[in-house]
Amino acid sequence: MAGKIEPMRPAALARALFARRSGYEMLLAAFALALLLGVAVAACLGAVPIPLRNVAATLLGGHALTSDQNLILLNIRLPRILAAIMAGSALSVSGLLFQGLFRNPLADPYVIGSSGGAVLGAAVGIFLFPQLSIAGFSATAFLGVLGAICSISLVYALASVNGRTPVVALLLAGFAVSTMLSYCSYFLEIMDHDFGTGLRVLTSWLRGTMAQPTWPQIAVMACMVLVGMGASLPLTRKLNTLALGEEYAAHLGLHLQQTRIAVIVVGSLLTAVAVALGGLISFVGLIVPHMMRMILGPDHVRLLPATALAGGIFLLVADTAARTMIAPSELPVGVLTAFIGGPFFLYLLRQAKKEVFA
């Protein structure tokens, strides 16, 4: 060891850089800029290319496009772009929340079965109560949130031992619950007699295909995302305290039960939004918070905005790639994130090897 100078690892360098307030704000600004740039580029790409300057001109109020291009941009591409951003953001933030709650960096809405719960809840809504609506919202959305809450509560109850969730217990409980849920959804599919839109929706959810929402749908989803993010804000500080362990956190005045319930409800709301927009998209809630933690450290308060922005960028890029790579047909974005996220998940699992195989 003597005389050997350890070179600073890139992650450590980044942490030192972003530890300062100015560095952190620069990073957020850079993310915001990258997101805008991503929107502009994604709007150009597709089966019908639209030049960037025409996109910019249209968005700024001009009329630079033909009516076809206008239609594609406003009714197909922009809704899809916004859907990808919101789904990526929502998934990443719910991943962050669940990781803090489970005190485990492997908790991801998909892995621990909360996405599966949302799909099942929504499928129940589609197949069994298609006409029902509660306060203007369709029962589907409501049941999706409820399904996510139920499944994650179940996984939490199964996997936690004295307030900690060992990796193995978490993964096994999540695996069992999400497998049951997926097959319940298939069961519902068989029960469905008219083989209509419900089936198509369910199939695309199970594959993780980004939806093409209408503008009113986007408005509703945007409201839910904003509510979820806003509610996450006070929770992030509580998650920092929770990292000390439940007993210590309780001694410092944290209400454990309230915090757990709040995190589960908010995380499930965000998961359900993401599922409604893109179905089962795996590992995004794992990759994005982990990368942000690598460069910003573990403080959840600082991680929240960065994770929200980076999650939006990540899924926008992934979805744009998914729909252009093999144009004119397209890949479900869930397939792509599984390809990227699977190996990444295994890498993280290997990092946790000591705990897993001890």
Binding site: A19, R103, N104, P105, L233, P234, R237, N240, T241, A243, L244, G245, E247, Y248, A249, A250, H251, L252, G253, L254, R293, G297, P298, D299, V301
Partner: protein
């Protein structure tokens, strides 16, 4: 009378074990008390009762005359800080982020640390000499550093009473003496201390009182001289007095030996 914390007729049991029958004791505002007793005699339980994390089955724990049961945990944590034996932090939080958690009982739902909060954190780091550790990762600290940082978190709560659970555990002799120095320093700052101690040799240096717990017996309270007598230690710890700990030599010699 200037009692900070009072145990009044406290009874507490675990499902198969009765620990305290009718515990009566009080911690004066400037006391520095060592809590000793054999394994399983309820030292940690007593600290948890004092911190309000456990509630007595009967009787009352009172903070400045007010029953702890009537106070919120936030309010308790602003007056009493419990420094637990083992802390495992998920995620690589830095020492500074760790110590800042001591401000949790003061924070509002929204908004970050106020200047007063930051000042309390700085002061806690200054008292425990942990400034130089501030950007290290908590989980990577050595045993002695960890202990000081844990105490710093407790001090960031700006408590009137600091409860230390086995602070000397797993520390080498040098770090133990360092900690004794820290306890003396805290005494001078008017913070009352109740610390459970395994190593009886270090008590006389820093503590003004000893509480000795023994299963099924009354709590013995007195000065170190009064309590740490060979025959009493022999009886309570069930070890032959002649082979007991070395603290049984005259006090003058000992303090010379220990002073560094």
């Amino acid at each position: 009378m200037n009692s900070l914390l009072t145990f009044a007729d406290v009874e507490f049991s675990y499902p198969h074990r009765r620990l305290f029958h009718a515990l009566d004791a009080e911690i004066p505002a400037d006391a520095c008390i060592a809590l000793v007793g054999p394994n399983g005699s309820g030292k940690t339980t007593l600290l948890r009762l004092a911190a309000g994390s456990l509630r007595p089955a009967r009787g009352d724990v009172r903070l400045r005359g007010e029953s702890i049961a009537s106070l919120s945990q936030r309010a308790i944590a602003r007056s009493i800080a419990l420094v637990p034996q083992n802390v495992e932090v998920s995620f690589p939080f830095t020492v500074q982020q760790f110590i800042e958690q001591g401000r949790t009982p003061y924070l509002k739902l929204f908004g970050g640390l106020s200047p007063a909060d930051r000042h309390a954190v700085e002061h806690a780091m200054a008292l425990t000499d942990t400034h130089s550790l501030r950007s290290r990762v908590f989980n990577e600290l050595s045993g002695g550093e960890r202990q000081r940082v844990k105490i710093a978190l407790g001090l960031a709560q700006q408590p009137a009473l600091l409860l230390l659970d086995e602070p000397m555990q797993h520390l080498d002799i040098g770090r133990q003496l360092e900690l004794i120095g820290l306890i003396k320093r805290l005494r001078r700052h008017g913070i009352a201390i109740l610390a459970s101690m395994h190593d009886l040799t270090l008590i006389e240096e820093a503590f003004s009182f000893v509480w000795m717990l023994a299963p099924g017996q009354e709590l013995v309270i007195g000065s170190p001289h009064e309590v740490l007598r060979p025959e009493l230690i022999g009886r309570v710890f069930d070890c032959p007095p002649q082979r007991g700990p070395m603290l049984l030599k005259p006090a003058a010699n000992r303090s010379e030996r220990i002073r560094v």
